[in-house]
Symmetry: C2
Amino acid sequence: MAANKTAVRQVLDKTKAEGRTALTAPEGKLVCEAYGIPVPKEGVATSAADAAKLAAGMGFPVVLKIVSPEILHKTEAGGVLVGIRSAEEAQKGYDTIVANAKRYNAKATILGVQVQQMLAGGQEVIVGAVTDPSFGKLVAFGLGGVLVEVLKDITFRLAPASKDDALSMLDGIAAAPILKGVRGADPVDRSALSAIIQNVSQLISDFPEISEMDLNPVFATPKGATAADVRIVCDWNPEPARYRPSHQDIVRDMNRIMKPGAVAVIGASSEDGKIGNSVMKNLINGGYQGEIYPINPSAAEIMGRKSYKSVKDVPGEIDVAVFAIPAKFVAQALVEVGEKKIPGAVLIPSGFSETGNVAGQKEIQEIGHKYGVRLMGPNIYGFYYTWKNLCATFCTAYDIKGGAALSSQSGGIGMAIIGFSRSAKMGVSAIVGLGNKSDIDEDDLLTFFEQDDNTKIVAQHFEDLKDGRAFAEVARRVSKKKPVVVLKAGRTARGARAAASHTAALAGNDKIYDDVLRQSGVIRAMGLRDLLEYARAIPVLATPKGENVVIITGAGGSGVLLSDACVDNGLTLMPMPPDLDAAFRKFIPPFGAAGNPVDITGGQPPKTYQETVRLGLSDERIHALILGYWHTIITPPMVFAKAMVEVVDEMRAKGIHKPIVASLAGDVEVEEASEYLFDHGIPAYPYTTETPVAVLAAKYKWARGAGLI
Amino acid sequence: MAANKTAVRQVLDKTKAEGRTALTAPEGKLVCEAYGIPVPKEGVATSAADAAKLAAGMGFPVVLKIVSPEILHKTEAGGVLVGIRSAEEAQKGYDTIVANAKRYNAKATILGVQVQQMLAGGQEVIVGAVTDPSFGKLVAFGLGGVLVEVLKDITFRLAPASKDDALSMLDGIAAAPILKGVRGADPVDRSALSAIIQNVSQLISDFPEISEMDLNPVFATPKGATAADVRIVCDWNPEPARYRPSHQDIVRDMNRIMKPGAVAVIGASSEDGKIGNSVMKNLINGGYQGEIYPINPSAAEIMGRKSYKSVKDVPGEIDVAVFAIPAKFVAQALVEVGEKKIPGAVLIPSGFSETGNVAGQKEIQEIGHKYGVRLMGPNIYGFYYTWKNLCATFCTAYDIKGGAALSSQSGGIGMAIIGFSRSAKMGVSAIVGLGNKSDIDEDDLLTFFEQDDNTKIVAQHFEDLKDGRAFAEVARRVSKKKPVVVLKAGRTARGARAAASHTAALAGNDKIYDDVLRQSGVIRAMGLRDLLEYARAIPVLATPKGENVVIITGAGGSGVLLSDACVDNGLTLMPMPPDLDAAFRKFIPPFGAAGNPVDITGGQPPKTYQETVRLGLSDERIHALILGYWHTIITPPMVFAKAMVEVVDEMRAKGIHKPIVASLAGDVEVEEASEYLFDHGIPAYPYTTETPVAVLAAKYKWARGAGLI
């Protein structure tokens, strides 16, 4: 579609020149036509006789609608008449509408009455657009009608939307089956609908001053789709685009900050209990091998290292400066960091915007920007990068190296990350506090972790994204390579906003996050524990090559609960082919259950678990296994665990790598067995049938989003 | 409403006599009229002229519908014409419909054309009824229309439904706001709608042969509700009612079984590894103080106790016989148990219906019934009753006494219960395996636990209820006194059934369970871990006296996540009154956040936690507290825990008991602190913001269902 941008520009210029923010219906129609969005035949009558003539020309029935820039809610004003079936009715209708409109708003300028071809039949849908403070332009789609408004069944994508994005929106609402045809109805024209979605998304991307837009209703039929009503609202002072460093600059600076050769500690101290002392201890005791420069105006030596009055006095190059001084001294020290050309400052101190000191935060932002110093924080616990044995934090050290990179906006959540990680012996590449996010934010971290070979998964907690669009764009790229898990806190906190359009009124903030994160291939964790469990298990699991999941269980009861969890988590239980069913049956008692779950029955020896799991791993039609273990004296927990690891290792030696998780039902010995299994590449959990399935499903979500299955 | 049962009986008799199962539309109308269900004016025309005359008599517009017992789907047959506006149209319409119907089914008997007053306006809803194999008669309510069908937005209650039940159905669908009026529409007549629901539910209760019923659509307006179309289907051979012992008998027998003075072990053995040996060991080593009689035909003494050849040889009275013999010997031994007048048999052996031996199971059921022996199992691990130090099981002993009574249908889940309980040091009154449920089932257990003073909460896992109605009735009574938590496994396993009515087609099995369990005041756990956590925490929590929940947190980040969890779990965050806000502010730094959560900010001393929690417990407007702890060196985890217990104890001494839960974010020391808090009456959890809120919400669900708030 070649859009006629000139036509749109003319309409917008006129609207702006006239001091309006809302387009009239005829203007809206012009804009739609310029972007290939089908609209009904119509014209504007300025007299009753004119209305009759126009209506007769386009054929009955028609709809009459008041045209007045001051009247946005036409129905409310009595400004709409539908089902006009004759010239005489049209003539009368004109007078009625104009009278109603005058009663509704005596000061309204009435430009006439729009006569519009009445669209009959088809499914009513709504296509709209909004401008989100964080994500910018978004296109929306939902069914029309009051019921859908109550159920808030609407879906969003970043604009401009690709054809795939647009098609995914048609499947992205709960009422999607309606569009495919129910009770014998024909399906709607998906291609026509998705074209409208794409064109709307292109229009609002091309013209940032269009802040909200409603096509409501759009009548979708088996052979096309037409927008029956158009509402377009402009904001003549849109937010300017945010400054973003180039990808190259981010990578260069973040690499020096996260994997520094030399660290300065501003406010280093020998005194126990001081933050500057904790940071020094963590750096030294953590085993960091680079240079450590204590900075303190009143000490010659700190913890056996020469101390400097300023970073500017340090002879060598410094990659990152960790600040452990009160807020009021930060700005001056930051200038010195800038003059020393240190690329990064880790601002532990609190006392900035979180305590109301917005000016103080703005000041350091400006200094950072001026000198090209990237700022982490302020108001953070610092960060860890285990592969450099780097604990640039005042918290306790952490040293279990692994593939999970975690970050949190909140310090409390950071402490929970550290505690859980230590307790679960989770291998971590980095833990980063982002706090007030005066500069470095989630997308900077993502950009670093993307190219950091030590990082296999990124898990981030945040409450808001100052630049949601940047995050979404980076996440979309990174998630193709590495799983990105997100815990968005504050899902339910934000109240409804006043809104001029239906689409905006339907745009619950969390729904936008949900849709855009999915569009970006991000796995969303709905709670803190989910975030942590996903981060721990996903890097351990092999990537599945297909959707066929099989449950092998010694406990029939676990099998049922594991099946429930599979359905809840969107996993596909493979229908068991007869030959495979027969093959499984060879290993299990005659009363063992057929199909999937494979119920090997209780009280079986380790051999039965081994034989069935070996078959499950060997057969190419099966892509993932879920094990249900039942503690018996015939196969005690550790015997089961070792038997499973034996089979999995045997298969790995043959080059067979499939994701496999386990749920262990039994007495407390299953805790040790679960740990053993996890350590050997089988995420395993005692006393729960939900968690093993949830982590497998998270891996699947990623694999699907990355196009690997 | 005085129902005219005679009129209904006549219609049903005629229908049955004519060999039909479906009522005609006029018959359906008669039935509705007999039960005070408003229907439109109508008549049956047998000629085109007749149709015109009838229509003119009731006023236009009218609807024409074919009347033929063979044609159930009238629209599909072209047998419906709507919006007939004149006598002439009515005449033509008659001929059209009859012609269509003959084309659709040449063999159909056409009894005429129904002429019906056309209902204009109002909200279309559906009221229906189904017969469930487990729950019996159920009444259903939902919005009409294709969209609702796709979204399956329908709700069920046991019939007959009370007025409160019926009103709760109007609020029990997702689209409920529609009924209350949206976009300026008037609300529908709730009283008229609930009367229809009640009357339908009474009708199907009075006439069990009515198996399915649809009033679809019912037009609900601000001033009434009218059923525009009626479909009634009968089953002339309904299931007979199940046998149920009297309440008195259940209580008497279950008390002897669960708290026996003397236990016989049939198949007792001295040989290690035998089930009969494990049971003996558990009874003796568990510390059971009653008589233990080993029964074994070939031993004189077992584990230092005199052994008998048969229970009949035992001189004293026996309360329960634990079976540890192969399935094939069970029937004979059970006869002897019956002859000895032992009221209960605990049937550990497997090898009955679960392995296809249905006849064997039926045989023992008949023996049990004949002799009045209640059967637990077969195919179970046995049971524990800790307050008698009774471990009548082959599993490991369990001895932590407490208020939670748990049961499981599956042995594997039973082992998970034991393991979790031991690991979490959960106080338990009983753990019971129900296995094949040949006799004793969930409602028998509920009836026992209801009057067992040691039991404070009942938590049950099951896959099906052989008598869902009995369970629901008992649960409704018991849940008023003690919380009942249920994990229904197999939520998603059951496929769609073929169904003659819309209501039945919409009746996903799990939706019925969900609604009926809620109607019964039962708290539903959606996963195994939830069941276990609820069982552990609910008895520890005080019962809230109102809905006002306040979060007090040291970590702002936890506060946000805890707020999310409150909304997710249906808890009400109290809007903070200005005076209380000011009172809290006295204890926290000036930049601490106002309102709820009360954010005391990080790095506060124990005193700040204490002062704010003391205020939260003291102020009568606050009914429950959620604490968010952030690990710092100023208030380490155990210091926090002890400080909290101190305040709570101080308040308890003053007679103040409020539910209080805690989420601990920090390094691994928070695990010990959580345990300490839990032991002292504050359910506390490390690394999660979801679980503390979920258990508090479960307590709230119970308190609401029991009418305590």
